[in-house]
């Protein structure tokens, strides 16, 4: 909480309101405490207050881990500010801890001097034992460096609802609304969005609706009336670009991008998927939009998910599937078939900690190699990586366009942080989206083969269809839908003869086809802009150190560069990189794996790219990158 001098007296005259450029709030409690919900409602209010923001939900892999334990802690972090907010925040200014375990797990993230609101009703021997604590952190010195606000959350909630007919369980479950109300008050966020949301959520349960609203208000007023808070804070609206905004989670943005691609191209969206955290959210979201003609198919496994998508693509639809690391491994063979048959297909990979089942709910960027190289044979394909939750929309839309333009499978690499995180999204007009036109083959494209007596059974001079005759510019082959008369043809995984698409074991043909498949993917780079060097507005484009990153690491890197003093398709690499790299002395590559991009760049450019891998299930903080960069240039 970078404090400023501007102190504004508050309306009631008791508490001063201090203006802050930015702040980070973390709600933490049992997975049953409703922390994800509390966090998203705080986010919504913050968005209404027109802050720029970024969120990081962080929940355990177990659905209902034993209450009170450290491994059952679910957290939701919101970073908001009046400037450009690109990460969920380095350190936390306010931690709302529903139990001792939450303090134990998350205190390390709180800035020294920061505020910790604790639910004292959970701070009893049972709570300490469950959290495996020897003593009460409230009086053993653990919290000495923090401003602690003790609130009897459970008791106050029960009192607030003492004259309702709700069960104790129902009453206790609404204590998160008290916490929310208090946090909203503390940061001068509006209550209206949450009140409205409660109204909708409990439309059919008026008793619960009223109770939750009541507790929310109680929490808000508690801040005002208690004298526990000396200061209240405000964060001025950010200078956001004009337009209509909404908060969007990456998973939602991916789904919207797919629906948009389907609508703009006129292709039916066929989405095959096998549930896997964290990709399932895309399936859930898409299955709600059937009135866009979206066909969702919950397959028997990832192989079938990929296969069904490819089958739909062969049928002239937009075949898409999504998964996470282990599922991508299963789809490998089908993706190779899509490369060989040169059919469009989009595979979304929401990366999580690996290998194997790894850390199912934690973020990582470890599938880069799997995406770029992970198939048998030489099977190149474009890889697209969004750099923020809102950018997921652009990335999904682009992935579909690339797939159809170049007749190729495309992998999109998102990650847990992008999919679950949210940020304001400037809503585009559908009409302004980049054009997306698909031209199916409707006519024969050849007149027999002058060299031989027949092509596809057609005599010389007779019109015929050559399924592997390529577009000169994109090198894409024509897309002919089954049902189109006269264009009957076969595709398959055996090597295809150039032009005719017949099975061919000819050595020279295989060399040629391998080269063409590679060249086609390189054609994608032609449409890309050379990346811009981000230099915090200084205009510098040469110097001692260049930090190169991909995907979701962008936010942390740019924020780091801001403090110290490159976007688009990831593979093929954008043009102009070499010239940029040459202008810098040192190269740092922070990424959430053990140095995959660094190795790839070394391989491409023969320069000393220093990997900086972080695989702790959490995204980089700008501070970590600053530290590493300083060490490299000092």
């Amino acid at each position: 909480m970078n404090q400023t001098d501007a102190e504004v007296p508050s309306a009631n005259g008791q508490t001063d309101t201090e203006a802050l450029p930015e702040a980070t709030v973390l709600f933490a409690g049992d997975s049953g405490d409703g922390m994800q919900l509390t966090g998203s409602q705080f986010t919504l209010a913050t968005a209404h207050a027109q802050s720029d923001l970024s969120t990081l939900p962080d929940y355990p892999a177990e659905i209902r881990a034993p209450a009170g334990t450290t491994y059952g802690i679910s957290g939701f972090q919101v970073h908001f500010g009046s400037g450009n907010v690109r990460t969920p925040g380095d350190s936390v200014d306010l931690l709302v801890a529903m139990n001792p375990a939450a303090v134990k797990v998350h205190l390390g993230r709180v800035e020294r001097g920061g505020t910790v609101v604790v639910n004292t009703n959970a701070f009893n021997d049972r709570g300490f034992k469950l959290a495996d604590l020897d003593a009460n952190p409230l009086d053993d010195g653990t919290l000495d460096d923090y401003r602690v606000v003790e609130v009897e959350l459970s008791k106050l909630t029960r009192e607030a609802l003492s004259d309702t007919d709700l069960s104790t369980k129902e009453v206790d479950r609404s204590k998160n609304m008290f916490a929310l109300g208090l946090a909203l008050w503390l940061f001068s966020r509006p209550m209206a969005p949450a009140l409205e949301w409660i109204g909708k959520k409990f439309e059919d349960k008026p008793a619960l609706r009223d109770a939750n609203r009541h507790v929310l208000k109680k929490g808000y007023h508690y801040g005002e009336t208690t004298e526990q808070f000396v200061t209240r804070y405000d964060v001025a609206p950010a200078d956001l670009e004009e337009g209509t905004y909404r908060a969007v989670r990456g998973a939602e943005a991916l789904a919207l991008g797919l629906v948009a691609a389907s609508e703009k191209s006129g292709l039916g969206l066929f989405y095959g998927s096998y549930p896997i955290t964290p990709a399932s959210d895309i399936l859930h979201e898409l299955s709600r939009h059937k009135n866009f003609g979206v066909m969702t198919f919950q397959a028997e496994d990832e192989i079938a998910a990929a296969g069904s998508a490819l089958g739909a693509s062969f049928g002239g639809q937009l075949g898409v599937c999504a998964t996470s690391g282990p599922g991508l491994a299963l789809k490998t063979e089908t993706i190779g078939l899509a490369t060989m048959t040169e059919l469009p297909m989009v595979i979304l990979d929401v990366q999580r900690g690996g290998p194997s089942t790894g850390l199912p709910t934690k973020t990582e960027q470890g599938d880069l190699f799997q995406a770029i190289y992970g198939r048998n044979g030489d099977a190149p394909l474009p890889v697209v990586a969004p750099d923020g939750p809102a950018d997921c929309f652009r990335a999904a839309y682009d992935a579909c366009r690339l797939a159809c333009t170049y007749m190729t499978p495309v992998i999109l690499l998102a990650d847990v942080y992008l999919a679950n995180g949210s940020e304001p999204w400037r809503i585009p007009d559908a009409a302004d989206l980049p054009p997306f036109e698909v031209n199916f083959a409707t006519e024969p494209n050849a007149n027999g083969d002058p060299e031989s007596t027949h092509v596809n059974g057609k005599k010389n001079g007779e019109a015929s269809f050559l399924p592997y005759r390529r577009d000169e510019e994109t090198l894409a082959r024509p897309w002919a839908k089954p049902g189109t008369e006269g264009l009957e043809h076969r595709v398959g995984g055996l090597e295809k003869e150039a032009e005719t698409g017949d099975v061919s074991y000819d050595p020279a043909n295989h060399q040629h086809m391998t080269d063409v498949r590679a060249e086609k993917i390189q054609c994608v780079a032609r449409d890309l802009d050379p990346p811009a060097v981000y230099s915090a507005g200084t205009g510098a484009d040469e110097g001692d150190l260049l930090i190169t990153a991909w995907g979701s690491t962008r936010g942390a890197v740019e924020t780091a560069v801001d403090r110290l003093q490159g976007r688009g398709t990831l593979w093929p690499l954008p043009p102009g990189l070499e010239a940029i790299f040459d202008r810098f002395e040192h190269h740092l590559v922070p990424e959430q794996n053990n140095g995959q991009l660094a190795r790839l760049l070394r391989d491409e450019f023969l320069l000393d790219f220093r990997p900086y891998g972080k695989v702790q299930g959490q995204p980089f903080t700008p501070g970590e990158i600053v530290e590493k960069a300083e060490a490299m240039i000092s």
């Binding site: 949301w197 209509t244 909404r246 009135n291 066909m295 069904s308 062969f314 398959g492 995984g493």
Partner: protein, 421 residues
């Protein structure tokens, strides 16, 4: 055609016909079923109009019965009707000479001109194996995909393009080993497609290892001391997966094969057709007991819906004894046809009993002595239930009607929005 195995000796030509099993030859071209052709635009029946030039130009590697027989090209209403030849691609067929796959290909190519779909509407999707090469030989749309996955690919295709006629061609290894998962799910979902399972009880393409349908004790390259695996009974797998159409036929009976295929095509839903296919290279004679004229009458029971279950040229029948099937002798005066079970393809319990007749079929204790139960062929089970693609699109249409066709701008703006000016 096993991988990199050279089987390129000149194969038998027509003169070797005697070595061919009955029903394998080309002669059954104009089956009577052609009279039943739906009154669409295509009327394949008619005098053989095409010239007989094929006999001379066809690759000599083609076994008899595969060459282009004269499919009727005549058309009653002026539109050029399609013939078998229209469904033959320009690719050389590369199965081993004498392989049962030829007869299956031939049956399909004869059947398709008679069906009520446009040629461009047929799509053949296959997996990997000798059988998997099938689509390359059909002049239709097709995909030769990857091992075991054809049902998944076909499901995506049919679900998103319900108007197409989707056929799956698969082998016993392809469908029941690596692709077993996709098979059962395509069946239980009841995707409207025809699945032709070429069962040769061996891995042909990989040159002769035992397959999930090989009998226990089978000696193959990978089981020199005999296989210890228990075999799967494909029909029971299909019944267990709740297939809405389950049938069995054999490569050596082209008429029966074609008729069953036609029934599978007419069926709305997932149609499972097991075809006993001879791999004369690695598992020659695996089904001769059922397919060759010496033993076929005693060992094969041809099912006919509504007809009593008799075999051995009417001399024997099947009846129910408690909960078991029993062979009865219809000639010794004790039993008559009226004692026989009457086939009812819609009866699931009956299908269960028929499906259970397999390698370890029990000896009967009826008056026919110790005779084993005959293996049933034909449509074992059929039921009508909604197809997957029908349900999918009905749901989409219903929701669209209720919510109105999707509006992208409205979708973008759904939920809480705010405006910055």
């Amino acid at each position: 055609m096993p991988e990199d195995e050279s089987q390129n000796e000149t194969p038998p030509d027509g003169t070797k016909k005697p070595t061919l099993p009955p029903g394998y030859g080309d002669d059954g071209d104009e089956s009577s079923s052609e009279e039943d052709t739906p009154s669409g635009t295509k009327k394949p029946a008619g005098p053989p109009a095409s010239s007989g030039d094929d006999a001379g130009t066809k690759k000599p590697t083609l076994p008899p019965g595969f060459g282009d027989g004269a499919g009727g090209d005549g058309s009653a209403d002026g539109e050029p009707a399609l013939s078998r030849k229209d469904f033959q691609s320009d690719q050389d067929v590369r199965w081993c000479p004498g392989c049962g796959d030829y007869a299956i290909l031939s049956a399909v190519q004869r059947l398709l001109p008679e069906l009520d779909a446009e040629k461009a509407e047929h799509v053949f999707v296959s997996g990997i194996g000798c059988a998997g090469r099938f689509p390359y030989y059909m002049d239709t749309y097709g995909m030769h995909s990857i091992h075991g996955r054809a049902p998944a690919i076909a499901t995506g295709l049919k679900a998103s393009r319900p108007e197409l006629q989707v056929w799956i061609v698969t082998g016993d290894g392809d469908a029941l080993s690596i692709g077993g998962n996709h098979l059962i799910h395509a069946l239980r979902r009841n995707v409207d497609l025809q699945l032709l399972l070429f069962n040769n009880e061996i891995y042909g393409l990989t040159k002769g290892q035992y397959s999930p349908t090989s009998e226990r004790g089978k000696v193959t390259k990978s089981s020199p001391y005999g296989s210890i695996d228990a075999p799967l009974n494909p029909v029971r797998v299909a019944l267990g997966a709740d297939a809405s159409f389950v049938a069995r036929t054999m490569d050596r009976d082209p008429q029966h094969m074609k008729a069953v295929m036609e029934q599978s095509y007419d069926h709305d839903g997932a149609a499972f057709v097991e075809i006993y296919q001879n791999c004369n290279i690695f598992n020659d004679g695996a089904f001769f007991e059922f397919t060759e004229k010496e033993t076929k009458p005693e060992r094969a029971l041809f099912l006919d819906d509504g007809a009593p279950m008799t075999f051995a040229e009417g001399k024997k029948g099947l009846r129910l004894d408690g909960l078991s099937l029993e062979v009865i002798d219809l000639e010794n005066g004790r039993f008559s046809t009226s004692d026989c079970l009457v086939h009812d393809a819609s009866d699931e319990m009956l299908a269960e009993l028929l499906g259970r007749i397999f390698w370890d079929e029990p000896a009967s204790n009826g008056s026919a002595g110790d005779q084993k139960l005959p293996r049933p062929f034909g449509v074992i089970y059929q039921e009508q239930r909604p197809t997957y693609e029908e349900l999918l699109h009905t749901q989409i249409d219903g929701i669209t009607e209720k919510k109105g066709a999707g509006d992208l701008d409205a979708l973008f703006r759904s939920g809480e929005t705010w405006t910055v000016e």
